[in-house]
Symmetry: C2
C-alpha cells in the first residue's frame, strides 16, 4: 500500500507548505480540515481549492462546541487586542485545546486508514504564542496517542510530523516557493472578509514573512 499520511490543512500558509512537504516526501496525503465556527470560514474554501488543485480528497469535520468564547469565533469581540505580538502572552484569539482536538481526530482518521503519520504545520518562531503549537506539546501528544490507540500499542505509533516547527515565517515562505505552493489560494486573515484586513495578528505575521522573504504576497 502507498505511504499514507493525514495532513491537517487549514488553508493557511503553514499547513499548505506542510502538505507540499508531505507530498515531496512521497506520502499520499489525506486532508483534514475543521469547521469549528471560525470567523474566517473562508480558509476552508482555500483548503478545498488547494485539495482540488492537487486532486486530493478533503474531509471537513464540523465541530460545534457551544462553550467557545474566543474572539476568533465571536464576532462581537475584537481581534485586535494588543499593540505588539508577545509570544509569552496568549492572545484572545486562543481556542481552548484546538490542536489537541484536531490532532486527536486526526489520529482516529490515521488509524482507520492505516496511515502511519500525521503532518501538522505548527511552528514557533513567528507565531502568536499558542501553547498547542509548541514542540513539547506535540511530543507529549505523540506519546499519549501511542498509548491510547490500538495501532500504538500493538503495531506502530502514529508519528506527528512537524517539519516547520523551528522555521521562521520567512523560511516557510521561501520553502513554499521552492515547492510551488499556490500562495494565491491560501488564506490567513482572521476576519475572513473579501480582502485581508492587514491588521489582525495572522495578517501581520504573514505580511512580515513575505516581506522578509522578498516575495510579493499574491493576496496583497
Amino acid at each position: 500500500m502507498e505511504n499514507r499520511a493525514v495532513v491537517l490543512l487549514s488553508g493557511g500558509i503553514d499547513s499548505s507548505v506542510c502538505l507540499y512537504i508531505a507530498k515531496k516526501q512521497g506520502f499520499l496525503p489525506f486532508l483534514l480540515s475543521f469547521d469549528y465556527g471560525q470567523r474566517h470560514k473562508k480558509e476552508l474554501a482555500s483548503a478545498r481549492k488547494i485539495a482540488e488543485k492537487l486532486g486530493l480528497d478533503i474531509v471537513v469535520v464540523k465541530l460545534k462546541l457551544p462553550w467557545l468564547s474566543s474572539s476568533l469565533i465571536d464576532k462581537n469581540k475584537s481581534l485586535f487586542t494588543r499593540e505588539k505580538i508577545d509570544t509569552n502572552i496568549i492572545p484572545q484569539t486562543y481556542i481552548s485545546a484546538r490542536n489537541l482536538i484536531f490532532l486527536s481526530i486526526a489520529v482516529s482518521y490515521a488509524e482507520e486508514i492505516s496511515a502511519k503519520s500525521i503532518f501538522v504545520g505548527a511552528n514557533t518562531i513567528d507565531f502568536s504564542g499558542y501553547p498547542d503549537c509548541r514542540d513539547e506539546f506535540l511530543e507529549s501528544f505523540f506519546e499519549t496517542a501511542r498509548l491510547g490507540t490500538k495501532a500504538g500499542i500493538t503495531e506502530y505509533p502514529i508519528s506527528i510530523e512537524r517539519p516547520l516547527i523551528n522555521k521562521s515565517k520567512k523560511e516557510i515562505i521561501l520553502l513554499g516557493k521552492e515547492l510551488s505552493v499556490p500562495f494565491e489560494l491560501t488564506w490567513s486573515c482572521y476576519k475572513g472578509e473579501k480582502k485581508p484586513c492587514n491588521e489582525c495578528e495572522s495578517c501581520i505575521i504573514r505580511k512580515k514573512g513575505f516581506s522578509s522573504a522578498g516575495i510579493t504576497d499574491p493576496l496583497s
Copy 2:
C-alpha cells in the same frame, strides 16, 4: 465560584457512578456526552434522563467522523466476534481514539468554564481491553493537556479524575448503590434496541457485575 468539574457521561453504569462520585465530592458537574454515530444512541437518552434527575445541564456534542468502521457504528457488522473476553486483545467494537477525542473536547469545555477537573469513568478490571481506558494513557493525557492549554501552562493543570480506574464491576455497582445511582435509567447494551440483548460484551460485563454484587439489574 463553586468547584466545577466536567463529567463525561455516556449514560452507562460507569460514567453514572462517576458522576455521583463527583457530586459527593462537592463538585458542580457540567455533563458532556457525544453522539458519534453509535448504534446505541439510546445511551444518550439515558444520559439526558440522569442529567434531568439531577437538575443538571448536559451538552451533547455531535461528531461525524466518516472514516469510523467499528462494529459499534456499522450495523452491518457483528457485535459478537469472540467467545470470551480477553483484555489483551482489542475487539471490533474499538473506536479509534475515542477517549482521546472525548477527553480533548472535555479539556476545551473545562478550560472555558474554569473547571479544574474532568471526571471519566474509565476502569480496567472488567473491561473490553480498549487501550484508551488504561491508566497510563490517562496519565499521559493529563500531561499533554497541561502542555497544550493556556490554563495548563499559566494557571492550573486540569486534572483527569478517574475514581473507578482500579475497581471491578462488582465494586462499581456496589458503590453506585451506596450513592443511590439510578441504575434503572442507565443503558449499556451496544445493540440499543428496546431491551438489552444480553449477548454483547457490554451486556455480559454488566450482567456479571450485578450478579457478583448480588443486586438485581432493574433492566433485566
